[in-house]
Amino acid sequence: MSKLEPQALTPAPTTVVGARVASPRKRRRYSLLSGRDKILLFFMVGVPLAIFLVLIWGMTLVSVGLAFTNWDGVQPIKFVGLDNFTQLFTTYPFFWPALSHNVLWLLVFVFFATPMGILLAVCLDRQMRGTSIYQTIFFTPVVLSLALVGFIWELQYSPLAGNGFIDSALVSLGIVSPANAPDWLGNSSINIWAVLIAASWRHIGYIMVLYLAGLKSVDPSLREAAAIDGANERQTFFHVVFPVMAPINVVIVVVTVIESLRAFDIAYIVNHGKNGLELLSTLITNNSISEASLLGFGSAIAVVLLVISLVPIAIYLTRVMRSEES
């Protein structure tokens, strides 16, 4: 039942309603809705929200719960306290390598791929001939799936016997002997770097496009003012453009961190995330789904991943909240 009949409202001009201090605008609009409309709105939000809560946040909570059990999917669930975590941090041999690979992934993205994307965006932001061609080329890897990126780079990295391009070129040019040709993806001390180059190939273009869009939205008069004050291009970028790009910078940071935590596909394509390519994500699936059925143990790794992910998520939400308030 609506609180106000529509007829009662129609003659009342908006200014009068707005002037009434006791009833803020919000209330007025709310009460304009008929009961049927309210129910409709409730379902429009409620049904998707319920599904989302169950499938995403509900499963997250179940993951957290399972992490304290030794469930194997068959036996009844038994609570084991922190056992999974103790085992994870002390005796399980792949946890620390996986975590350090995720950290390495993040560092390479933060100190190489992301700055590279920003640099390309700054270069392409000038009014120059050929900009759109460069942009298309740099961005094309982004529309390929990470799994496909894995296949495409395997053609480069395969060992000599697998007809990989890099090794064939190195041997043909006499740089290395066939016996010494590196096994880029098979050698556990270098394969993470090989994979990171492939991942950066895609990440650079992604950051470039995001940043380029941000640069285009910067008020040109700011740059003109800086130029009149005698600032050179580098000074203009670091002291004028970069600070006003703060909102985009947050997005870039969040995207970079999230992408490094989600890393899965390329490592899986290369060797299912083993032998030098362990990642938290591949440990979860290998332990709980693909190879073993240690649901409790896999969930404990998922909890570690969740806790790390909450950092960028919190940063992002703070920003969303702040901009909602303003």
Binding site: P141, I152, N163, V209, F264, L306, L317, V320
Partner: protein, 309 residues
């Protein structure tokens, strides 16, 4: 007089320097563009070569071809149900895309055009959920998908859409998780977009007695066409490119969409890069074509997500 001469000298000097730096920039960008294009160009080149040709040459793939042909493509097409893989992708991608846009536009409409107490909370639940790594939820989700309907609350529609009594290994399962996950992102983008639309339109329509659904369908949705087009382009690419969900939530190779199905082929042709290359190019074509044709929408979709938030 001397001042103007000096100033004139300085500008020509500056112009020369600027031109030089511009040439340097072009060289830098061209070299980088070549490095970026190389892996794909090489894959294309490889897909056109003959395996025997590479093996016979002492330099292996680092050599010029004796012939180029489309033989590898015909081989891949005839040996594997590629048409079926594309079809699987379409059966998953198209419904998921439409559902996502429909659902997220409704949620975005309700939370951006009407003031509720929990607006911000709802927005945060969707946005934060979209940022979670999928691996965080995969273990319980995998179990949930494997429950048979007998153990689930009876949902009659499901039995029509599943042939194994579960949603594991079913298109419906993949559509469900894609729609849910992507709704987070799209709701966020669309609610920002709708906030930029004028409030007066909705208020005027309300005064005229238009109901909520009419306002959504006749006023807001048409105004959101640019954002919806941009999101559709993005969603197509993302869902098409999904590897993780399809790998985890499908058992049988033949039901998998193309990106995940490639994983079935890789083992068998590890030593024949020409076949791997041809299969990769075939899997890449749809997204690359969509990107080249709809580049504008693609870029504006990504931008919408980050511009104002």
């Amino acid at each position: 007089m001397s001042v103007t001469v000096m100033a004139g000298q300085r500008t020509t000097h500056n112009r020369a320097r600027r031109r030089l730096s511009r040439v340097g920039l072009h060289i830098f960008l061209s070299v980088l563009a070549f490095i970026f294009a190389w892996p794909l160009l090489y894959a294309l080149y490889m897909s056109l070569r003959r395996y025997g040709d590479i093996v016979a040459n002492p330099n292996g793939p680092f050599s010029l071809p004796s012939t180029l042909s489309l033989d590898n493509y015909t081989f891949v097409w005839n040996s594997y149900p590629f048409l079926g893989y594309y079809w699987n992708t379409a059966v998953i991608t198209i419904p998921a895309l439409i559902l996502t846009l429909w659902i997220s536009s409704m949620v975005a409409f309700a939370i951006s055009k009407y003031s509720w107490r929990f607006n911000l909370l709802v927005l945060m639940i969707f946005t934060a959920g979209n940022l979670l790594p999928p691996q965080v939820i995969i273990v319980p989700l995998f179990r949930l998908y494997n429950l048979t309907f007998a153990n689930l609350p009876a949902i009659p529609v499901l039995s029509q859409l599943s042939d194994n009594g579960r949603i594991y290994d079913q298109f419906i399962g993949l559509i469900l998780i894609h729609t849910t996950f992507q709704t987070g992102f799209c709701t966020f983008v669309l609610s920002n977009y709708m906030k930029t639309l004028s409030k007066e339109l909705v208020e005027a329509a309300m005064m005229d007695g238009a109901g909520v659904f009419t306002i959504y369908r006749r006023i807001i949705l048409p105004l959101c066409t640019p954002a919806l087009a941009a999101l559709a382009t993005l969603l197509f690419t993302w869902i098409y490119n999904d590897f993780f969900w399809a790998l985890m939530l499908f058992k049988s190779g033949d039901k998998r969409p193309i990106t995940a199905a490639l994983n079935n082929l890789s083992g068998q042709f590890f030593t024949d890069p020409t076949v791997v290359a041809a299969a990769s190019i075939m899997a890449a074509i749809p997204t690359v074509v969509v990107y080249l044709l709809l580049q504008r929408y693609f870029v504006s979709g990504l931008t919408l997500g980050s511009a104002k938030g």
